[in-house]
Amino acid sequence: MEFVSPEGLRLDGRRPRELRRINCQLDVLSNADGSAIFEMGNTKVLAAVFGPHAVTRRSELREEGALVVCEYSMAAFSTGERRRRGKGDRRSTELSMVIRNTLEQAVITELLPRSQIDVYVQVLQADGGTRCAAINAAVLALAAAGVPLRDLVAGCAAGYLDGTALLDLNYTEDSGGGPDLCVALAPRLDSLYLVQMDNRLPVDTFQAVMELAREGCRTISGVMRAALLEHTQRLAVARGITAAV
Amino acid sequence: MVGVFGPRQSEVKLGFTDTGRLNCEVRFTSFAAARLNKTELGALESSAAAALQQALEAAVQLDKFPKSVFDVSAVVLEGGGGDTGALVCGASLALADAGVEGLDLVPGCGVSKTAAGELLLDPSPEEAAAEEAGLVLAVMPQLNEVTLLSVRGRWADSELQAGLELALGGCGQLRASMRECLLAALAEPRMPA
């Protein structure tokens, strides 16, 4: 299968260094303290944040900082082939842990000792890059909930197929057998909070793919920042704090 | 056959519950549910257990038993048609026999509507299989409160009313027999545990 045409176009018509269309929606759930939907092409993930609140299990109470709890689940209709078990399977458990680790570094936990922050990620549509979209949705939801963050962490994936480094793989490209590098970056601090890779990649090509992924993270972080600012502006106008622009 | 165990201490991980819990479990013996495969059987057992719980919860005074749980275990020896009604009656009798304080006995019975529009009380398995619509009702006759109602199929208004009345009447009869049975059992000397 050809993933990159001779003219340099991918299966969905994108250029190798082009991201899919991104859409962010904030405060989509009334019950959660913070919520967001992050869409990247056909991948659509909903995240909800509850907290900070008192720790539910006293044994897990941490004096030094907040406890971040995360659960990742996929809706039965999210994947091309219907998924019977949305949570509790190995992949979901692994991803819950991965996302939790990433978020724990992003949240300034020292400011909220002895408390707990619940982050729930629900995949509504899966078309490649779900873990990155999950991280992005979670970070947006945390920001919407007012949880202090070190930086606007963004996640992005990149791969290498047909001799080209490709940014933001969709499901077909992901299953193409090439490497899949998923990265979460804090752009201002320029530090990586997550690096995960499937498959093999020679070291020199790795540098190129890594750099591409980091670029993608920076762009996505910018988009998220713009979405958050716009949302805050709308809220401020609605509450009469500022006049409409 | 229904066995009641309790009140027993609730699992520690559930924490403090100010009302008791009813934990219902229903098992079909292999000869009672011969034609079903494993998943269907599992679904049938869990739905029967849910029905049982729904029917009994209102009758047992659970707030008198904080932090405890009652295990109601039912085994269906001969299944098919009207199982739920029999399950509810049996479980209610078992609870009464165990000395659990309740608001009332809970008889349950079913009604089938044939294609011709005839209503049959307490249908046999063949009648139930041939029904066009049916319902199962469990009620606390003294309080006249229905604890379980499950209606299947399409009913005309008059048919539904008649069906409900028929079921309520049937439950009234069942309660009388249940009461007699309990009184008779009390009269017998009890085997030492």
């Binding site: 509850f50 209709f77 219907r82 549509q125 | 739905s47 048609g81 299989a129």
Partner: protein
């Protein structure tokens, strides 16, 4: 009833989908179709499976497996309202019974009295599973209705029922060509082009209306705080003609026998209007 917001086609990969808001209650229903083998009890019919899941996004209590039983109960009620006997396995001795009619036999506690599966999907069923058959005894469409509750502000059953109706209207099933090759083996060919898809007939699909008892009154569409005040409720499935197609009781206390009929009557009054309203919206060109 609270105003309803409905959106179709929210899940691109599903055959049909709908997102429904009623008050703050938020549910998404996705319908997926797969080619599968029919049940041995009903070789000329397709399969139907309904699941209801509570997303932890609705509340932290739904983490892990909590809410699974509640979801199963709602799923059983919805599935029974569409096709009564496919779930309640039932009588061991019963032979394949004639159409266990009626578009609904809501049983959150699906009773064992229902017949295993009917031999023919009768005209009184909510969904004609016979239309889902591709090749009798060998292949048929399996229809999976998956509901996800994103926010619970009361009346989840009603929301899921209405969203299911909408999602079924939105569902497009690809046309199938069955060819027999030289060896007598059957080949299935799916026609994926958008124009070739067909839609389900939903004219007999009922809506479930939850009527609760608060004090001595019958109340419909309870919000979450109101639900905590009610001791018992009746979920009544009513079709567009106002006929009762099923009912299930729920709640920790019993329902007064005299109230039962009043409750079903309330549901019968409301459901047809709601049905028409939803269908009008779904079929309007503006959508």
């Amino acid at each position: 009833m609270r105003p309803i917001e409905l959106e179709l086609g929210v899940i691109a990969q599903a055959a049909g989908s709908a997102r429904l808001h009623i008050g703050a209650t938020d549910v998404i229903v996705g319908v997926k179709v797969e080619v599968a083998s029919p049940s041995p009890f009903a070789p000329t019919q397709g399969r139907l499976g309904v699941t209801v899941e509570f997303s932890p996004c609705a509340s932290p209590v739904y983490q892990g497996r909590f809410g699974e039983t509640y979801g199963e109960q709602i799923a059983a009620a919805i599935e029974a309202s569409l096709a009564p006997s496919t779930r309640a396995g039932g009588a061991a001795a019963a032979a394949a019974a004639p159409a266990n009619g009626g578009a609904a036999g809501a049983s959150t506690s699906a009773t064992a009295t229902a017949a295993p599966t009917p031999s023919a999907s009768g005209p009184s069923w909510g969904l004609d599973l016979g239309k889902l058959c591709i090749s009798a005894g060998k292949t048929a469409w399996a229809l999976y209705v998956d509901a996800l509750v994103l926010n619970d502000d009361g009346n989840v059953v009603g929301a899921v029922s209405a969203a299911t109706l909408a999602a079924l209207v939105d569902t497009r099933i690809p046309k199938v060509e069955v060819t027999t090759d030289a060896a007598g083996e059957e080949e299935i060919e799916l026609d994926d082009s958008p124009g070739a898809a067909w839609r389900l007939d939903v004219s007999r699909v009922p809506l479930v209306v939850t009527v609760a008892q608060v004090g001595s009154q019958c109340v419909v569409d309870l919000a979450a705080p109101e639900e905590r005040c009610s001791s018992s409720a009746l979920h009544v499935a009513v079709n567009r003609a106002g006929q009762v197609c099923g009912a299930t009781s729920s709640g920790r206390a019993g329902v007064e026998a005299s109230m039962l009929l009043a409750m079903t009557e309330t549901a019968q009054r409301l459901a047809p209007g709601l049905w028409e309203q939803i269908m009008r919206f779904l079929q309007s060109p503006a959508r």
